[in-house]
Protein backbone atom coordinates (compact mmCIF):
# COMPACT_ATOMS: atom_id res chain seq x y z
CA UNK A 1 0.00 0.00 0.00
CA UNK A 2 2.94 2.22 0.81
CA UNK A 3 4.04 1.71 -2.77
CA UNK A 4 0.68 2.59 -4.18
CA UNK A 5 0.81 5.78 -2.15
CA UNK A 6 4.22 6.67 -3.58
CA UNK A 7 2.98 5.89 -7.04
CA UNK A 8 0.12 8.28 -6.59
CA UNK A 9 2.41 11.01 -5.27
CA UNK A 10 4.72 10.40 -8.20
CA UNK A 11 1.87 10.79 -10.63
CA UNK A 12 0.85 14.08 -9.04
CA UNK A 13 4.38 15.44 -9.30
CA UNK A 14 4.65 13.97 -12.78
CA UNK A 15 1.55 15.77 -13.96
CA UNK A 16 3.21 19.09 -13.11
CA UNK A 17 6.35 18.10 -14.99
CA UNK A 18 4.21 16.95 -17.87
CA UNK A 19 2.37 20.25 -18.14
CA UNK A 20 5.65 22.18 -18.24
CA UNK A 21 7.29 19.64 -20.53
CA UNK A 22 4.55 20.12 -23.10
CA UNK A 23 5.64 23.72 -23.64
CA UNK A 24 9.26 22.73 -24.04
CA UNK A 25 8.42 20.04 -26.51
CA UNK A 26 6.05 22.17 -28.57
CA UNK A 27 8.52 25.04 -28.83
CA UNK A 28 11.41 22.73 -29.59
CA UNK A 29 9.34 20.95 -32.18
CA UNK A 30 8.59 24.14 -34.00
CA UNK A 31 11.75 26.29 -33.76
CA UNK A 32 14.34 23.81 -32.45
CA UNK A 33 15.04 25.98 -29.44
CA UNK A 34 15.36 24.87 -25.83
CA UNK A 35 13.36 27.67 -24.34
CA UNK A 36 15.25 28.01 -21.08
CA UNK A 37 12.91 30.80 -20.03
CA UNK A 38 10.01 28.37 -19.94
CA UNK A 39 10.66 27.62 -16.27
CA UNK A 40 10.31 31.34 -15.61
CA UNK A 41 6.97 31.45 -17.40
CA UNK A 42 5.93 28.74 -14.97
CA UNK A 43 7.15 30.92 -12.08
CA UNK A 44 5.29 33.97 -13.38
CA UNK A 45 2.17 31.83 -13.68
CA UNK A 46 2.53 30.71 -10.12
CA UNK A 47 2.91 34.27 -8.85
CA UNK A 48 0.02 35.50 -10.94
CA UNK A 49 -2.15 32.83 -9.38
CA UNK A 50 -0.86 33.73 -5.95
CA UNK A 51 -1.68 37.43 -6.27
CA UNK A 52 -5.04 36.65 -7.82
CA UNK A 53 -6.02 34.38 -4.95
CA UNK A 54 -4.38 36.19 -2.05
CA UNK A 55 -5.13 39.79 -2.96
CA UNK A 56 -8.08 39.73 -5.30
CA UNK A 57 -9.80 36.84 -3.62
CA UNK A 58 -10.29 34.85 -6.80
CA UNK A 59 -11.13 31.18 -6.56
CA UNK A 60 -8.98 28.38 -7.90
CA UNK A 61 -10.45 28.19 -11.38
CA UNK A 62 -10.61 31.93 -12.12
CA UNK A 63 -7.03 32.23 -10.86
CA UNK A 64 -5.99 29.30 -13.04
CA UNK A 65 -7.57 30.84 -16.14
CA UNK A 66 -6.13 34.27 -15.39
CA UNK A 67 -2.65 32.96 -14.92
CA UNK A 68 -2.89 30.91 -18.11
CA UNK A 69 -3.89 34.04 -19.99
CA UNK A 70 -1.12 36.15 -18.47
CA UNK A 71 1.44 33.49 -19.28
CA UNK A 72 0.21 33.11 -22.83
CA UNK A 73 0.77 36.81 -23.41
CA UNK A 74 4.09 36.72 -21.58
CA UNK A 75 5.31 33.76 -23.61
CA UNK A 76 4.44 35.45 -26.89
CA UNK A 77 6.18 38.59 -25.70
CA UNK A 78 9.38 36.69 -24.96
CA UNK A 79 9.21 35.08 -28.37
CA UNK A 80 8.61 38.33 -30.21
CA UNK A 81 11.18 40.39 -28.33
CA UNK A 82 14.02 37.94 -27.88
CA UNK A 83 13.74 34.88 -30.06
CA UNK A 84 12.24 36.11 -33.29
CA UNK A 85 15.39 37.84 -34.44
CA UNK A 86 17.36 34.67 -33.86
CA UNK A 87 15.54 32.36 -36.21
CA UNK A 88 18.34 32.32 -38.73
CA UNK A 89 21.24 32.47 -36.32
CA UNK A 90 23.08 29.51 -34.87
CA UNK A 91 21.41 27.25 -32.36
CA UNK A 92 24.07 28.14 -29.85
CA UNK A 93 23.26 31.84 -30.14
CA UNK A 94 19.59 31.04 -29.61
CA UNK A 95 20.37 28.87 -26.61
CA UNK A 96 22.57 31.52 -25.02
CA UNK A 97 19.81 34.08 -25.52
CA UNK A 98 17.30 31.76 -23.90
CA UNK A 99 19.58 31.30 -20.89
CA UNK A 100 19.97 35.07 -20.68
CA UNK A 101 16.23 35.69 -20.86
CA UNK A 102 15.63 33.10 -18.18
CA UNK A 103 18.05 34.73 -15.74
CA UNK A 104 16.83 38.19 -16.64
CA UNK A 105 13.27 37.30 -15.68
CA UNK A 106 14.36 35.67 -12.41
CA UNK A 107 16.37 38.63 -11.27
CA UNK A 108 13.95 41.28 -12.42
CA UNK A 109 11.31 39.56 -10.31
CA UNK A 110 13.73 39.42 -7.37
CA UNK A 111 14.60 43.07 -7.93
CA UNK A 112 10.95 44.06 -7.87
CA UNK A 113 9.64 41.98 -4.99
CA UNK A 114 12.66 40.47 -3.26
CA UNK A 115 13.73 36.85 -3.09
CA UNK A 116 11.64 35.83 -0.08
CA UNK A 117 9.25 32.93 -0.57
CA UNK A 118 5.47 33.24 -0.43
CA UNK A 119 3.00 30.86 1.17
CA UNK A 120 0.28 29.84 -1.27
CA UNK A 121 -3.20 30.34 0.14
CA UNK A 122 -5.42 27.35 0.61
CA UNK A 123 -8.08 27.65 -2.05
CA UNK A 124 -9.24 24.12 -2.38
CA UNK A 125 -11.26 22.17 0.16
CA UNK A 126 -9.05 19.51 1.56
CA UNK A 127 -10.59 16.21 2.43
CA UNK A 128 -8.88 12.87 2.31
CA UNK A 129 -10.24 9.71 0.83
CA UNK A 130 -8.93 6.33 1.62
CA UNK A 131 -8.81 4.26 -1.55
CA UNK A 132 -7.33 0.79 -1.05
CA UNK A 133 -5.24 2.17 1.78
CA UNK A 134 -3.93 5.05 -0.30
CA UNK A 135 -4.50 8.49 1.14
CA UNK A 136 -5.81 10.63 -1.68
CA UNK A 137 -6.59 14.22 -0.88
CA UNK A 138 -9.38 15.86 -2.78
CA UNK A 139 -6.85 18.51 -3.65
CA UNK A 140 -4.42 16.26 -5.43
CA UNK A 141 -7.28 14.49 -7.16
CA UNK A 142 -8.58 17.77 -8.50
CA UNK A 143 -5.11 18.78 -9.60
CA UNK A 144 -4.64 15.53 -11.42
CA UNK A 145 -7.99 15.89 -13.12
CA UNK A 146 -7.20 19.47 -14.18
CA UNK A 147 -3.85 18.41 -15.63
CA UNK A 148 -5.34 15.54 -17.54
CA UNK A 149 -8.15 17.71 -18.89
CA UNK A 150 -5.64 20.30 -20.08
CA UNK A 151 -3.64 17.62 -21.82
CA UNK A 152 -6.73 16.33 -23.56
CA UNK A 153 -7.66 19.86 -24.64
CA UNK A 154 -4.17 20.27 -26.03
CA UNK A 155 -4.43 17.03 -27.91
CA UNK A 156 -7.69 18.25 -29.38
CA UNK A 157 -6.19 21.60 -30.39
CA UNK A 158 -3.20 20.02 -32.05
CA UNK A 159 -5.10 17.41 -33.99
CA UNK A 160 -8.50 18.90 -34.69
CA UNK A 161 -8.12 22.63 -35.15
CA UNK A 162 -6.71 24.71 -37.94
CA UNK A 163 -4.00 26.23 -35.77
CA UNK A 164 -3.01 22.78 -34.60
CA UNK A 165 -2.63 21.61 -38.16
CA UNK A 166 -0.57 24.69 -38.94
CA UNK A 167 1.65 23.94 -35.95
CA UNK A 168 2.25 20.43 -37.11
CA UNK A 169 2.95 21.59 -40.65
CA UNK A 170 5.46 24.23 -39.53
CA UNK A 171 7.28 21.84 -37.24
CA UNK A 172 7.47 19.30 -40.05
CA UNK A 173 8.85 21.69 -42.63
CA UNK A 174 8.66 25.48 -42.15
CA UNK A 175 9.53 26.32 -45.75
CA UNK A 176 6.94 24.04 -47.20
CA UNK A 177 4.38 25.34 -44.70
CA UNK A 178 5.10 28.88 -45.81
CA UNK A 179 4.59 27.90 -49.44
CA UNK A 180 1.26 26.39 -48.49
CA UNK A 181 0.19 29.79 -47.28
CA UNK A 182 0.56 29.18 -43.56
CA UNK A 183 1.52 32.24 -41.56
CA UNK A 184 4.63 30.87 -39.90
CA UNK A 185 5.10 33.79 -37.50
CA UNK A 186 1.60 33.54 -36.13
CA UNK A 187 1.86 29.82 -35.83
CA UNK A 188 5.05 30.10 -33.81
CA UNK A 189 3.43 32.71 -31.58
CA UNK A 190 0.42 30.47 -31.08
CA UNK A 191 2.74 27.66 -30.06
CA UNK A 192 4.39 29.87 -27.48
CA UNK A 193 0.99 31.04 -26.25
CA UNK A 194 -0.35 27.53 -25.77
CA UNK A 195 2.84 26.15 -24.24
CA UNK A 196 3.14 29.10 -21.89
CA UNK A 197 -0.49 28.87 -20.82
CA UNK A 198 0.12 25.26 -19.83
CA UNK A 199 3.19 26.31 -17.85
CA UNK A 200 1.06 28.98 -16.16
CA UNK A 201 -1.48 26.36 -15.16
CA UNK A 202 1.34 24.18 -13.87
CA UNK A 203 2.53 27.15 -11.81
CA UNK A 204 -0.80 27.54 -10.05
CA UNK A 205 -1.14 23.81 -9.52
CA UNK A 206 2.40 23.66 -8.13
CA UNK A 207 1.62 26.49 -5.72
CA UNK A 208 -1.52 24.84 -4.43
CA UNK A 209 0.15 21.46 -4.13
CA UNK A 210 3.49 22.44 -2.58
CA UNK A 211 2.27 25.69 -0.93
CA UNK A 212 5.63 27.48 -1.16
CA UNK A 213 6.75 29.56 -4.13
CA UNK A 214 9.68 31.88 -4.81
CA UNK A 215 11.27 33.66 -7.78
CA UNK A 216 13.80 30.88 -8.40
CA UNK A 217 11.18 28.15 -8.24
CA UNK A 218 11.18 27.72 -12.01
CA UNK A 219 14.78 26.64 -12.35
CA UNK A 220 14.65 23.07 -11.10
CA UNK A 221 11.14 22.12 -12.29
CA UNK A 222 12.02 23.78 -15.59
CA UNK A 223 15.11 21.62 -16.01
CA UNK A 224 13.23 18.54 -14.87
CA UNK A 225 10.45 19.18 -17.31
CA UNK A 226 13.00 19.59 -20.03
CA UNK A 227 14.45 16.24 -19.03
CA UNK A 228 10.95 14.80 -19.19
CA UNK A 229 10.55 16.18 -22.71
CA UNK A 230 13.87 14.66 -23.81
CA UNK A 231 12.94 11.40 -22.14
CA UNK A 232 9.72 11.15 -24.10
CA UNK A 233 11.34 12.29 -27.33
CA UNK A 234 11.54 16.01 -27.78
CA UNK A 235 9.00 17.41 -30.18
CA UNK A 236 6.55 14.59 -29.47
CA UNK A 237 3.54 15.70 -27.45
CA UNK A 238 2.44 12.40 -25.88
CA UNK A 239 6.12 11.73 -25.21
CA UNK A 240 6.33 14.81 -23.00
CA UNK A 241 3.37 13.62 -20.95
CA UNK A 242 4.71 10.11 -20.49
CA UNK A 243 8.20 11.49 -19.80
CA UNK A 244 6.75 13.78 -17.12
CA UNK A 245 4.94 10.95 -15.37
CA UNK A 246 7.94 8.62 -15.56
CA UNK A 247 10.23 11.26 -14.10
CA UNK A 248 7.76 12.14 -11.35
CA UNK A 249 7.46 8.49 -10.35
CA UNK A 250 11.21 7.85 -10.48
CA UNK A 251 11.87 10.84 -8.25
CA UNK A 252 9.26 9.84 -5.72
CA UNK A 253 10.63 6.32 -5.63
CA UNK A 254 14.19 7.56 -5.15
CA UNK A 255 13.00 9.70 -2.25
CA UNK A 256 10.94 6.90 -0.79
CA UNK A 257 13.99 4.66 -0.79
CA UNK A 258 15.66 7.18 1.46
CA UNK A 259 17.82 8.96 -1.06
CA UNK A 260 15.91 12.20 -1.12
CA UNK A 261 19.12 14.25 -1.35
CA UNK A 262 19.94 12.42 -4.56
CA UNK A 263 16.57 13.10 -6.12
CA UNK A 264 17.81 15.85 -8.39
CA UNK A 265 20.84 13.83 -9.37
CA UNK A 266 18.56 10.97 -10.43
CA UNK A 267 16.87 13.22 -12.96
CA UNK A 268 20.18 14.35 -14.42
CA UNK A 269 21.49 10.81 -14.56
CA UNK A 270 18.39 9.80 -16.48
CA UNK A 271 18.99 12.73 -18.81
CA UNK A 272 22.56 11.77 -19.51
CA UNK A 273 21.76 8.10 -19.99
CA UNK A 274 18.95 8.89 -22.37
CA UNK A 275 21.05 11.40 -24.30
CA UNK A 276 23.82 8.88 -24.70
CA UNK A 277 21.88 5.73 -25.41
CA UNK A 278 18.73 6.97 -27.04
CA UNK A 279 19.03 10.68 -27.83
CA UNK A 280 15.75 10.63 -29.71
CA UNK A 281 13.92 9.62 -26.52
CA UNK A 282 11.48 6.80 -25.84
CA UNK A 283 9.14 7.63 -28.68
CA UNK A 284 11.47 9.40 -31.08
CA UNK A 285 12.77 8.00 -34.33
CA UNK A 286 16.50 7.97 -34.85
CA UNK A 287 17.43 10.08 -37.82
CA UNK A 288 20.74 10.61 -39.49
CA UNK A 289 21.98 14.05 -40.30
CA UNK A 290 21.83 14.69 -44.03
CA UNK A 291 25.19 15.34 -45.60
Amino acid sequence: MEWLQQLFNGISLGSIYALIALGYTMVYGIIKLINFAHGEVFMIGSFTGFYAIAFWGLGFFPALILSMAVCAVFGVLIERVAYKRLRDSTRIAALITAIGVSLLIQYVVIYIRGAQPEAYPNVLPNRSFDVFGVQISSQSLLILVVSVVLMIVLQFIVHRTKIGKAMRAVSYDPDAAKLMGINVNNTISATFAIGSALAGAAGVIFGVYYTKIDPLMGVIPGLKAFIAAVLGGIGIIPGAVIGGFVLGIVETVVSALGFSLWRDAAAFIILILILIFRPSGIFGKNSKEKV
Binding site: L86, R91, D264, A265, F268, I269, L275, I276, P279
Partner: protein
Protein backbone atom coordinates in the same frame (compact mmCIF):
# COMPACT_ATOMS: atom_id res chain seq x y z
CA UNK B 1 58.66 31.70 -37.79
CA UNK B 2 61.51 33.38 -36.02
CA UNK B 3 59.48 36.51 -35.71
CA UNK B 4 56.61 34.65 -34.11
CA UNK B 5 58.93 33.09 -31.58
CA UNK B 6 60.36 36.44 -30.61
CA UNK B 7 56.91 38.03 -30.25
CA UNK B 8 56.10 35.15 -27.95
CA UNK B 9 59.11 35.80 -25.74
CA UNK B 10 58.48 39.52 -25.84
CA UNK B 11 54.97 38.94 -24.51
CA UNK B 12 56.32 36.67 -21.77
CA UNK B 13 58.90 39.24 -20.73
CA UNK B 14 56.32 42.02 -20.68
CA UNK B 15 54.02 39.86 -18.60
CA UNK B 16 56.70 39.27 -16.03
CA UNK B 17 57.61 42.94 -15.93
CA UNK B 18 53.94 43.64 -15.20
CA UNK B 19 53.98 40.94 -12.56
CA UNK B 20 57.09 42.43 -10.94
CA UNK B 21 55.66 45.92 -10.83
CA UNK B 22 52.44 44.72 -9.21
CA UNK B 23 54.38 42.56 -6.75
CA UNK B 24 56.49 45.56 -5.78
CA UNK B 25 53.40 47.67 -5.27
CA UNK B 26 51.91 44.98 -3.09
CA UNK B 27 55.08 44.63 -1.03
CA UNK B 28 55.31 48.39 -0.58
CA UNK B 29 51.73 48.54 0.56
CA UNK B 30 50.60 50.71 -2.34
CA UNK B 31 48.00 48.15 -3.29
CA UNK B 32 45.70 47.41 -0.43
CA UNK B 33 44.27 43.90 0.04
CA UNK B 34 41.09 44.87 -1.76
CA UNK B 35 42.94 45.65 -4.98
CA UNK B 36 45.20 42.65 -4.61
CA UNK B 37 42.17 40.49 -4.20
CA UNK B 38 40.57 41.97 -7.28
CA UNK B 39 43.74 41.20 -9.22
CA UNK B 40 43.68 37.61 -8.01
CA UNK B 41 40.06 37.37 -9.01
CA UNK B 42 40.87 38.70 -12.44
CA UNK B 43 43.53 36.01 -12.82
CA UNK B 44 41.13 33.26 -11.76
CA UNK B 45 38.41 34.49 -14.07
CA UNK B 46 40.79 34.78 -17.00
CA UNK B 47 41.91 31.19 -16.40
CA UNK B 48 38.29 30.09 -16.36
CA UNK B 49 37.41 32.11 -19.43
CA UNK B 50 40.40 30.94 -21.44
CA UNK B 51 39.89 27.30 -20.50
CA UNK B 52 36.24 27.45 -21.53
CA UNK B 53 37.25 29.33 -24.66
CA UNK B 54 39.22 26.27 -25.74
CA UNK B 55 36.13 24.11 -25.45
CA UNK B 56 33.48 26.47 -26.83
CA UNK B 57 35.36 29.07 -28.83
CA UNK B 58 37.99 26.87 -30.46
CA UNK B 59 36.45 23.42 -30.64
CA UNK B 60 32.83 24.58 -30.85
CA UNK B 61 31.59 22.23 -28.13
CA UNK B 62 28.92 24.09 -26.25
CA UNK B 63 29.56 23.32 -22.60
CA UNK B 64 27.55 25.11 -19.94
CA UNK B 65 28.81 23.08 -17.02
CA UNK B 66 32.25 24.55 -16.51
CA UNK B 67 31.52 25.22 -12.85
CA UNK B 68 31.50 21.47 -12.28
CA UNK B 69 35.21 21.27 -13.09
CA UNK B 70 35.83 24.37 -11.03
CA UNK B 71 34.11 22.65 -8.11
CA UNK B 72 36.21 19.52 -8.51
CA UNK B 73 39.43 21.52 -8.52
CA UNK B 74 38.29 23.50 -5.51
CA UNK B 75 37.27 20.51 -3.43
CA UNK B 76 40.13 18.22 -4.39
CA UNK B 77 42.74 20.89 -3.70
CA UNK B 78 41.05 21.79 -0.42
CA UNK B 79 41.06 18.14 0.62
CA UNK B 80 44.76 17.98 -0.24
CA UNK B 81 45.74 20.96 1.87
CA UNK B 82 43.21 20.72 4.68
CA UNK B 83 42.83 16.99 5.20
CA UNK B 84 46.03 15.52 3.85
CA UNK B 85 48.45 18.34 4.68
CA UNK B 86 49.89 18.49 1.21
CA UNK B 87 51.65 21.61 -0.07
CA UNK B 88 49.50 24.13 -1.93
CA UNK B 89 51.29 23.74 -5.26
CA UNK B 90 50.72 20.00 -5.21
CA UNK B 91 47.09 20.56 -4.23
CA UNK B 92 46.58 22.86 -7.20
CA UNK B 93 48.06 20.30 -9.53
CA UNK B 94 45.99 17.48 -8.05
CA UNK B 95 42.84 19.56 -8.45
CA UNK B 96 43.70 20.12 -12.09
CA UNK B 97 44.38 16.45 -12.73
CA UNK B 98 41.16 15.25 -11.14
CA UNK B 99 39.18 17.87 -13.05
CA UNK B 100 40.91 16.74 -16.24
CA UNK B 101 39.93 13.14 -15.53
CA UNK B 102 36.37 14.30 -15.02
CA UNK B 103 36.69 16.15 -18.33
CA UNK B 104 37.61 12.84 -19.90
CA UNK B 105 34.64 11.12 -18.31
CA UNK B 106 32.29 13.89 -19.42
CA UNK B 107 33.93 14.29 -22.80
CA UNK B 108 33.72 10.72 -23.99
CA UNK B 109 29.97 10.11 -23.70
CA UNK B 110 29.19 13.68 -24.68
CA UNK B 111 30.77 13.11 -28.03
CA UNK B 112 27.67 11.56 -29.39
CA UNK B 113 25.82 14.77 -28.67
CA UNK B 114 25.74 18.00 -30.58
CA UNK B 115 24.86 21.60 -29.91
CA UNK B 116 22.07 22.10 -27.44
CA UNK B 117 21.92 18.46 -26.39
CA UNK B 118 25.57 18.58 -25.44
CA UNK B 119 24.92 21.80 -23.53
CA UNK B 120 22.19 20.19 -21.46
CA UNK B 121 24.31 17.12 -20.81
CA UNK B 122 27.23 19.21 -19.54
CA UNK B 123 24.85 21.13 -17.32
CA UNK B 124 23.60 17.80 -16.00
CA UNK B 125 27.14 16.57 -15.31
CA UNK B 126 27.99 19.75 -13.44
CA UNK B 127 24.85 19.42 -11.33
CA UNK B 128 25.68 15.80 -10.56
CA UNK B 129 29.17 16.79 -9.40
CA UNK B 130 27.66 19.47 -7.19
CA UNK B 131 25.08 17.12 -5.73
CA UNK B 132 27.80 14.56 -5.00
CA UNK B 133 29.73 17.12 -2.92
CA UNK B 134 26.49 18.14 -1.28
CA UNK B 135 26.06 14.57 -0.08
CA UNK B 136 29.57 13.83 1.13
CA UNK B 137 29.98 14.51 4.82
CA UNK B 138 33.75 14.31 4.53
CA UNK B 139 33.71 17.68 2.75
CA UNK B 140 31.06 19.19 4.95
CA UNK B 141 27.93 18.66 2.83
CA UNK B 142 25.85 21.77 2.30
CA UNK B 143 27.66 23.66 5.06
CA UNK B 144 30.87 23.44 3.09
CA UNK B 145 34.49 23.18 3.99
CA UNK B 146 36.91 25.53 5.69
CA UNK B 147 39.96 26.34 3.59
CA UNK B 148 43.04 28.30 4.57
CA UNK B 149 44.05 31.33 2.61
CA UNK B 150 46.97 30.37 0.40
CA UNK B 151 46.37 31.97 -2.97
CA UNK B 152 48.68 34.89 -3.63
CA UNK B 153 49.21 37.23 -6.50
CA UNK B 154 52.30 35.24 -7.44
CA UNK B 155 50.60 31.85 -7.62
CA UNK B 156 47.61 33.23 -9.48
CA UNK B 157 49.79 35.01 -11.98
CA UNK B 158 51.99 31.98 -12.60
CA UNK B 159 48.93 29.81 -13.16
CA UNK B 160 47.48 32.41 -15.48
CA UNK B 161 50.61 32.60 -17.61
CA UNK B 162 50.82 28.82 -17.73
CA UNK B 163 47.19 28.58 -18.86
CA UNK B 164 47.56 31.15 -21.57
CA UNK B 165 50.84 29.78 -22.89
CA UNK B 166 49.52 26.22 -23.04
CA UNK B 167 46.27 27.15 -24.69
CA UNK B 168 47.83 29.60 -27.16
CA UNK B 169 50.47 27.06 -28.11
CA UNK B 170 47.89 24.34 -28.48
CA UNK B 171 45.70 26.56 -30.63
CA UNK B 172 48.54 27.61 -32.91
CA UNK B 173 49.49 24.12 -33.98
CA UNK B 174 48.07 21.36 -36.10
CA UNK B 175 46.07 20.29 -33.06
CA UNK B 176 44.45 23.68 -32.63
CA UNK B 177 43.67 23.86 -36.33
CA UNK B 178 42.05 20.45 -36.08
CA UNK B 179 39.86 21.72 -33.23
CA UNK B 180 38.89 24.83 -35.15
CA UNK B 181 38.02 22.74 -38.18
CA UNK B 182 35.66 20.72 -35.99
CA UNK B 183 34.01 23.94 -34.89
CA UNK B 184 33.72 25.16 -38.46
CA UNK B 185 32.42 21.99 -40.03
CA UNK B 186 32.57 18.74 -38.19
CA UNK B 187 31.61 16.58 -41.14
CA UNK B 188 34.28 18.11 -43.35
CA UNK B 189 36.86 17.82 -40.58
CA UNK B 190 36.06 14.15 -40.27
CA UNK B 191 36.32 13.76 -44.04
CA UNK B 192 39.76 15.37 -43.95
CA UNK B 193 41.07 12.67 -41.66
CA UNK B 194 40.69 14.50 -38.35
CA UNK B 195 39.84 12.18 -35.47
CA UNK B 196 37.10 14.46 -34.21
CA UNK B 197 36.40 12.34 -31.14
CA UNK B 198 39.98 12.55 -30.01
CA UNK B 199 40.18 16.30 -30.35
CA UNK B 200 36.87 16.99 -28.71
CA UNK B 201 37.95 14.94 -25.72
CA UNK B 202 41.37 16.60 -25.75
CA UNK B 203 39.74 20.03 -25.64
CA UNK B 204 37.53 18.94 -22.76
CA UNK B 205 40.45 17.48 -20.85
CA UNK B 206 42.75 20.48 -21.26
CA UNK B 207 39.93 22.93 -20.57
CA UNK B 208 38.89 21.02 -17.46
CA UNK B 209 42.44 20.80 -16.21
CA UNK B 210 42.76 24.57 -16.08
CA UNK B 211 39.27 24.98 -14.67
CA UNK B 212 40.47 22.65 -11.92
CA UNK B 213 43.54 24.80 -11.32
CA UNK B 214 41.28 27.83 -11.14
CA UNK B 215 39.20 25.92 -8.61
CA UNK B 216 42.24 25.41 -6.39
CA UNK B 217 43.07 29.09 -6.53
CA UNK B 218 39.45 29.97 -5.89
CA UNK B 219 39.12 27.68 -2.88
CA UNK B 220 42.29 28.98 -1.25
CA UNK B 221 41.31 32.58 -1.80
CA UNK B 222 38.14 32.24 0.26
CA UNK B 223 37.85 30.88 3.71
CA UNK B 224 35.09 28.47 2.87
CA UNK B 225 33.76 26.60 -0.12
CA UNK B 226 30.21 25.32 -0.44
CA UNK B 227 28.43 23.34 -3.14
CA UNK B 228 26.15 26.35 -3.59
CA UNK B 229 29.10 28.34 -4.98
CA UNK B 230 29.30 26.02 -7.95
CA UNK B 231 25.78 25.88 -9.30
CA UNK B 232 24.53 26.79 -12.72
CA UNK B 233 24.95 30.51 -12.03
CA UNK B 234 28.68 30.01 -11.71
CA UNK B 235 28.77 28.23 -15.06
CA UNK B 236 26.78 31.10 -16.46
CA UNK B 237 29.28 33.63 -15.06
CA UNK B 238 32.04 31.85 -16.97
CA UNK B 239 29.99 31.41 -20.10
CA UNK B 240 29.26 35.10 -20.36
CA UNK B 241 32.98 35.89 -20.38
CA UNK B 242 33.51 33.74 -23.44
CA UNK B 243 30.39 34.90 -25.23
CA UNK B 244 30.94 38.56 -24.58
CA UNK B 245 34.56 38.35 -25.66
CA UNK B 246 33.59 36.73 -28.93
CA UNK B 247 33.38 32.99 -29.44
CA UNK B 248 36.75 32.00 -30.81
CA UNK B 249 38.81 34.93 -29.53
CA UNK B 250 41.20 34.31 -26.67
CA UNK B 251 42.03 37.96 -26.22
CA UNK B 252 38.30 38.69 -26.24
CA UNK B 253 37.84 36.23 -23.39
CA UNK B 254 40.69 37.86 -21.48
CA UNK B 255 39.36 41.37 -22.01
CA UNK B 256 35.83 40.50 -20.97
CA UNK B 257 37.13 38.61 -17.93
CA UNK B 258 38.98 41.73 -16.80
CA UNK B 259 36.05 43.99 -17.61
CA UNK B 260 33.38 41.91 -15.92
CA UNK B 261 35.47 41.14 -12.86
CA UNK B 262 35.89 44.85 -12.28
CA UNK B 263 32.21 45.49 -12.92
CA UNK B 264 31.14 42.79 -10.49
CA UNK B 265 33.49 44.06 -7.81
CA UNK B 266 31.61 47.32 -7.95
CA UNK B 267 28.29 45.51 -7.88
CA UNK B 268 29.22 43.18 -5.04
CA UNK B 269 26.67 44.77 -2.75
CA UNK B 270 23.97 44.55 -5.40
CA UNK B 271 23.89 40.94 -6.57
CA UNK B 272 20.49 41.25 -8.23
CA UNK B 273 21.51 44.30 -10.22
CA UNK B 274 24.61 42.46 -11.27
CA UNK B 275 22.63 39.48 -12.52
CA UNK B 276 20.22 41.75 -14.36
CA UNK B 277 23.08 43.52 -16.06
CA UNK B 278 24.85 40.26 -16.90
CA UNK B 279 21.82 38.58 -18.38
CA UNK B 280 20.78 41.72 -20.25
CA UNK B 281 24.29 42.04 -21.69
CA UNK B 282 24.18 38.42 -22.77
CA UNK B 283 20.82 38.80 -24.52
CA UNK B 284 21.74 42.09 -26.16
CA UNK B 285 25.07 40.77 -27.37
CA UNK B 286 23.37 37.75 -28.92
CA UNK B 287 20.69 39.87 -30.55
CA UNK B 288 22.79 42.74 -31.84
CA UNK B 289 26.37 41.59 -31.89
CA UNK B 290 26.51 37.80 -31.83
CA UNK B 291 30.21 37.86 -32.66
CA UNK B 292 30.90 39.49 -29.28
CA UNK B 293 33.53 42.15 -28.71
CA UNK B 294 36.18 40.58 -30.87
CA UNK B 295 34.55 38.05 -33.18
CA UNK B 296 37.15 35.38 -33.85
CA UNK B 297 39.92 37.94 -34.09
CA UNK B 298 42.75 38.41 -31.66
CA UNK B 299 44.34 41.58 -30.36
CA UNK B 300 47.48 40.64 -32.26
CA UNK B 301 45.53 40.74 -35.52
CA UNK B 302 44.99 44.46 -35.08
CA UNK B 303 48.60 44.81 -34.15
CA UNK B 304 49.58 42.77 -37.20
CA UNK B 305 47.40 44.88 -39.47
CA UNK B 306 48.88 48.04 -38.23
CA UNK B 307 52.39 46.76 -38.74
CA UNK B 308 51.55 45.44 -42.15
CA UNK B 309 50.17 48.77 -43.30
CA UNK B 310 53.20 50.59 -42.08
CA UNK B 311 55.56 48.23 -43.76
CA UNK B 312 53.64 48.47 -46.98
CA UNK B 313 53.72 52.23 -46.92
CA UNK B 314 57.38 52.48 -46.09
CA UNK B 315 60.39 50.37 -46.69
CA UNK B 316 59.36 46.83 -47.48
CA UNK B 317 62.62 45.32 -46.38
CA UNK B 318 63.33 47.61 -43.47
CA UNK B 319 61.45 45.89 -40.66
Amino acid sequence: MLKKVSTFWLAIVLAFVFYGVVQLLILNGFLNPFYTNTLIFICINIILAVSLHLVIGITGQFSIGHAGFLALGAYISAIMTMKLDMPFSFALFAGGIVAALAGLVVGIPSLRLRGDYLAIATLGFAEIIRIIFLNIDYVGGAAGMQVTHATTWTTSFLCLILTIVVIVNFTNSRHGRACISIRENEIAADAMGINTTYYKVAAFVIGSFFAGIAGGLYAHNFYIIQPANFGFLKSFDILILVVLGGLGSLSGAVISAILLTVVSTFLQELPETRMIIYSLVLVLVMLYRPQGLMGTREITDYFGNWKWKRVKGGNQYGG
